[in-house]
Symmetry: C2
Subunit: 422 residues, 2 copies
């Protein structure tokens, strides 16, 4: 094996991998790519990637060719779920993560008992697999701290027998791991910024909640329903995500409607209703002139989510496909959630009644094709309803200004439960 | 020269550069690094980087060792300002950007007249410089589209004479340029997400504007003043930026205050004032439980920007350094802007009067050290006032709901003027 290393071809391969890794901004796809490339490079049967997080080691994925061949790749991958374990020097991955050192083990069954790390045979036992040689390499970020561990298992020699990892292979994988560490850090930073952005968008929704009768969970459900339709339409991941980010701001214009109209208990007069309908324009105006794609789209949704398929909606009276598809989607998901959830002025309608109303208004209020598509996803709809269920607190606590006290608010830290997961 | 290429050392250098480029997320620093590394690798006296944007070629930076030696590096760099030029095949950079091909020119004075591209001697004439050999390499993104051009000038041979770029150097720079292209694209995507996030934060401020008497520019000025203090305190770039992002949301809790109190023209009763003061708690509650650093900080500022140095503020009555420094900064910059700008109920106070009031309240309302530091930056304060000046439209248009029409709002495109630059 050693003769294939560090010639021009190998280096060009490494440079290509480097480019390929830095092109990948999605963490899961990146990890999969890292492991595939490392296995390919070292002719390894198997491999595993762990990430370090809050003093835990998170098992992220395994690829095992022998098991892929035995059970099929998809089925095998589904068997390996993400799990956490403490970082200790007793596991080989933990040892590499703590010390930052490479472990090159010719045979895991012959590890000297005076070593701090042991081989844990449970994987082999559970999967009827036989681990022999292992190469365990820490992946470090730009501050040179280990942020993950790349573990390769059973290198094949030329005659398909398992051999030990050579010194040159070790060096090669170290080089690959150092690129991988930076690419992982970039993908994580990227995800952090996106999360912060999405969180801010939700706060905008929560701010609107202080003024309206809707809950923050209405916004989450409505955005998730919209995503469900987009996915069913086969939109690509990026376009789907843009809709998920844009939808929560559809009613932001209600922030500009006077209390006396927004909170009026009875029926609105014609004038009042006209003012109320201005929330579409106010929303579009708040979101106007942005260059950010999500905000350009959310402006469009704010402006068009009250248009109706038959042309009887507002503010422009657009009809059918004159209404942008994102506005047609939002019309369906916004009304569906209003009907199927509790509001402070009404109980939720039963599911059958909601579906009956939606079907009745399909072709009048709603785009009939999109309505049919949406209602065909009732299983997914129900699981969104369960995940983002309203609680009594959602209705009372936030709007009861006098119940707020600094003590409830100052005890915040970055490790707190993610309340606003999305 | 050619013998140094493509040995193990060169490849390891390239791998190191690859890691170094993917570690850099700031575009300007990244471009500087790309050019330095490319010059070092090829022993080039000079180099220039262009980026492609909206069918324009943007000159981003030049490094010229001869001129650095002659005028000093800092002075030379300041001479070269960013500028735009059309992309045409007549310039060498434009040719590389349009065709995606490398130009390797042994002597720019001997370019055959039947070539589409010409050498533009204006740089040489303006700077008393003599360009001979050039290597012009397009930098491509992951979709293989040229997004920039790396231009190297005057390769030095072993005897310090200018020589032509060898074929191996050409290949090496192509390899470097392909990594650079991906790193540039990553930095640009990163910047786009951050801009979208900041834009969303400002929309939250603009939404609050619909309800309060303040303008969107108040929020921008106040955030910029806060940044000014942070920079004067020597905070690092990241911490400064976090404050810039967090400060605009300090009054988001006003969205939860009833119209009758928020818009009451006269003096508030004791009860009404108490409700009004709840905007600090409502704001903190809207921003509570976020894991995003900017939002954790904005919650802290929302909660503490009405505390006073002498303990007479609200909601907690904290005093002196019990008040987080970000809250003490926001107290100064929020009040300073309220005094020095027009509100719909008052004209701006003259600068001397504002400074007099700030000094009088220093040690009572405000942290005296921070107040002194802030007021010492009057030149920078004035330039922020000019950049984010209120116009009459800011006061009238947004709050006049009936003046809004769909026609004003639908004609939006991504190339529109950045109205909400920050």
């Amino acid at each position: 094996m050693s003769k294939v290393l560090f010639n021009e071809k190998t280096f060009e391969d490494l440079l290509d991998i480097s480019k390929s890794l830095s092109s990948e901004r999605d963490l899961d796809r990146l990890l999969d790519k890292i492991l595939s490339e490392a296995r390919r490079f070292t002719c390894s049967d198997a491999g595993t990637i762990y990430l370090v997080n809050n003093n835990k080691l998170i098992f992220m994925l395994s690829q095992v060719q022998t098991l892929f061949d035995r059970w099929g790749e998809q089925q095998t991958r589904e068997k390996f779920k993400k799990f956490e374990m403490p970082i200790t020097k007793q596991s080989m991955a933990g040892y590499a993560a703590i010390t930052g050192m490479v472990l090159n083990i010719p045979d895991v069954n012959k590890i000297s008992p005076d070593k701090e790390y042991k081989y844990n045979a449970s994987f082999d036992e559970q999967n009827d697999y036989k681990t022999v040689s292992m190469l365990v390499v820490p992946m470090k970020n730009r501050q040179n701290q280990p942020i993950g561990v790349l573990q390769l298992i059973n290198a094949f020699g030329e005659d398909k027998k398992v051999i030990a990892y050579t010194k040159s292979l070790e060096r090669l994988v170290e080089s690959l791991a150092s690129m991988a560490g930076i690419a992982i850090q970039n993908a994580q930073l990227n995800q952090e910024i996106r999360n912060a952005h999405l969180d801010t968008i939700l706060r905008l929704g929560i701010a609107a909640e202080y003024r309206d009768k809707e809950t923050a969970n209405h916004i989450r459900r409505m955005a998730r329903y919209s995503l469900l339709i987009a996915e069913s339409l086969g939109w690509n991941k990026e376009t789907c995500e843009r809709l998920l980010y844009a939808a929560p701001m559809h009613d932001v214009g209600k922030l500009g409607i006077p209390d006396e109209i927004l909170h009026k208990p009875g029926v609105l007069t014609t004038d009042e209703r006209e003012t109320m309908q201005k929330h579409t324009l106010i929303g579009a105006n708040i979101l106007h002139h942005s260059r950010a794609e999500e905000l350009v789209l959310s402006k469009l949704i704010a402006l068009t989510h009250h248009e109706k398929w038959d042309g009887s909606g507002y503010p422009q009276g657009l009809k059918q496909k004159e209404i942008p598809i994102e506005g047609r989607i939002a019309a369906i998901t916004d009304v569906f959630d209003a009907l199927s959830s509790r509001r402070c002025y009404k109980e939720p309608f039963p599911e059958e009644k909601v579906i009956e109303i939606m079907k009745h208004d399909s072709g009048r209020h709603f785009d009939p094709e999109l309505t049919e598509l949406f209602l065909s996803k009732i299983v997914e709809i129900r699981s969104i309803q369960i995940r983002y269920q309203d609680t009594d607190a959602d209705f009372d606590k936030l709007r009861n200004i006098n119940a707020l006290s600094p003590a409830d608010l100052i005890d915040n830290n970055k490790n707190s439960q993610i309340k606003f997961d999305f």
